[in-house]
Symmetry: C2
Subunit: 455 residues, 2 copies
Amino acid sequence: MSDSIKYVLDESRIPKVWYNLAADLPKPLPPALHPGTQKPLGPDDLAPLFPMALIMQEVSTEREIEIPEPVRDIYRQWRPSPLYRARRLEKVLDTPAKIYYKYEGVSPAGSHKPNTAVAQAFYNQQEGVKKLATETGAGQWGSALAFAGALFGIEVQVFMVRVSYDQKPYRRALMETYGARCIPSPSNETQSGRAILAKNPNHLGSLGIAISEAVEVAAQHDDTKYALGSVLNHVLLHQTVVGQEAMAQMEMAGDYPDVIVGCTGGGSNFAGIVFPFLGTQLRGGRKVRIVAIEPAACPSLTRGQYAYDFGDTAHLTPLAKMHTLGSTFTPPGFHAGGLRYHGMAPLVSHIKELGLIEARAYHQISCFEAGVQFARAEGILPAPEANHAVRGAIDEALKCKQEGKSRTILFNLCGHGHFDMQAYIDYFDGKLKDIEYDEAELAMALAGLPSVKAA
Amino acid sequence: MSDSIKYVLDESRIPKVWYNLAADLPKPLPPALHPGTQKPLGPDDLAPLFPMALIMQEVSTEREIEIPEPVRDIYRQWRPSPLYRARRLEKVLDTPAKIYYKYEGVSPAGSHKPNTAVAQAFYNQQEGVKKLATETGAGQWGSALAFAGALFGIEVQVFMVRVSYDQKPYRRALMETYGARCIPSPSNETQSGRAILAKNPNHLGSLGIAISEAVEVAAQHDDTKYALGSVLNHVLLHQTVVGQEAMAQMEMAGDYPDVIVGCTGGGSNFAGIVFPFLGTQLRGGRKVRIVAIEPAACPSLTRGQYAYDFGDTAHLTPLAKMHTLGSTFTPPGFHAGGLRYHGMAPLVSHIKELGLIEARAYHQISCFEAGVQFARAEGILPAPEANHAVRGAIDEALKCKQEGKSRTILFNLCGHGHFDMQAYIDYFDGKLKDIEYDEAELAMALAGLPSVKAA
């Protein structure tokens, strides 16, 4: 039987805990700093933005953090997500490699994002929060939080990067169907937004700007908190359900990955699949090669500097040590909006510095080529972000073919591309270009990094 | 615990046979007739259009027809599909009813259609067919066949109703990503298409016209066959995996439906969930009330005539006895393109005549209201077609509330609406109208029904 194979876990196998990589790091993560004092941040500094339960997770070094039962109840709608052996793709590639992929597009919002959106909405509801403000690029995160907000009766306000807001009315309509309010960013609703519009009324927006707007709204209203869809420790933590399930499913398959591939924007889907395997390795278990794939037009891991920087453009956030292109860097408008962020999650940056992972940057056309090849073989149409992981996995498989070696490759297919079809149309029409970022702008953004003594 | 519940079957529980309602009918189905001789059709008459294996299924009265192993292997990618108890929706409705739904949107193409597309592609490949021609309205069927064709290496040519082709570029892009060729219908590629364009170059198309074009292409090329996504006996047969799984899942839940609700266009998703339960009833098992929900703008079951009619506009197909609005009737352009067909599946029409099912017609705005209410409660955004079933199920649940009675309601959520977001945007913008069909046109179309002695 040469058809693709699905590995399904019983719902009792939904993880009962999130796995916290901080417990197994050979060297602790540099702390986040207060932007004014440059002293390590205390829980109280974050209290205007996040509920205390999430703040405690942000700084926890406990290896396992229990998943609350109401969160697991909601996870049950789509979890455990399937893991597939892509035998049809292997056959097309004529490779001796074995390719497995975890598929997170089965969630109601179509990506891995609800894993953390549901948890965040739960903790906020527990602490009496009435409203959540957030930002979204491609819209995967915004729709995930809109979904979670609907379930917990929390109002959701999404600042959507204007270029995406205009180009992706269907993603916006999904958020509105869930009951969220979606605002193009930069907007007139915040000081940060107005300041940018004053300089350029036609500004296309960026994730960094949208974060500033959402943080500002949260900071100014007592009943409102902020929610972030990636980058932060607690967000990555929530995604580890992905990797934990994948470990159990690889065991079902009687196999173990030699290589794990994930795409990286802020780092959360990558962390989700990678951290449980990496933790096993760090505790003396089997070693696995780990490859992060990022967009060549926004290459924080491969071209950024490892330094303290702001998470947003208006410099309202704390300083975090991460691979960054500079908080003023505006990535060009390529099609994987979810990967258009100037920084990389501190935890992912840290393990890159420790030499525990590799990183590669790809241009978008070759990623869409891979995505179409994948769709024709496996039937699932990946999101543009996920196409980066598909490209990385296919390249690993082709290397196996070249070397005549059979390796086991695992990747995370973090979402479907149903709301990204314009990108596929552009690809088929030959309108997709491989876009280079502006070297001068990058140099300027890097030169403008805050000077931090502790760094 | 008041959260929604998912009932998951192990993959060994994917049905091994399709269930054939013909075996249990109290009165046999009137045969299809040759349009020239008006004599019952023989297998040879259909041979230019379909592979012999499907023709034999079309006329079979065997109760169980084995599902070939390669088809089950592909079903494994998404089957068994989940069945949910919609407790979150029950709570919002404050109803004593229990609402269960089977969710077919988990398939790669996003609806129940791959259940038959994969089977049809398999049998065609077995008999050496190189190319399949078909029609599509909303695009659910076209993308399902495109997906199946990609897996079996069969070229797929889709005549897409022009109004949908123009309004739904993303659905078309999905078909093209799977490698299919998509042509707006009426087209210049066929005699039937050219004849219509000669009279009206801006004709918006209809399913009846697109069927004529696809049938013509298949009839004229030896290596090409025709594939239909609904209406025919073998198509309905393939969908019975849905109802068989639902029966097993209701058993897991320790429950049995008092009412089953499905939306009807050609009748295939309705038949899929209903026939296995109805068969049980016909063999002396438990009785269940069955309600078909159709669009008020194209109400074949509630306003059509039960008569022999053509399946297409150009009268290239055999005559089938069915509830029909007349093959020249062009339904107005409402948003559930998958329900815009002048006729109803002969099997569904037959059981309606036998009094085994009820039918109700709904206008679209109330269906979208129901769809949005469902999305906010359950997280899944239904296709406009599926919204009809959601409306029907919610109305049954509200009736329970009114009567203070707890009944068990089961409905088929046949697909997600990710490619139908423009309809939701129009709904939110207040641009959606409840459209009436033209009474005079209906009268004329019914007056033009072929005169058939055997009828």
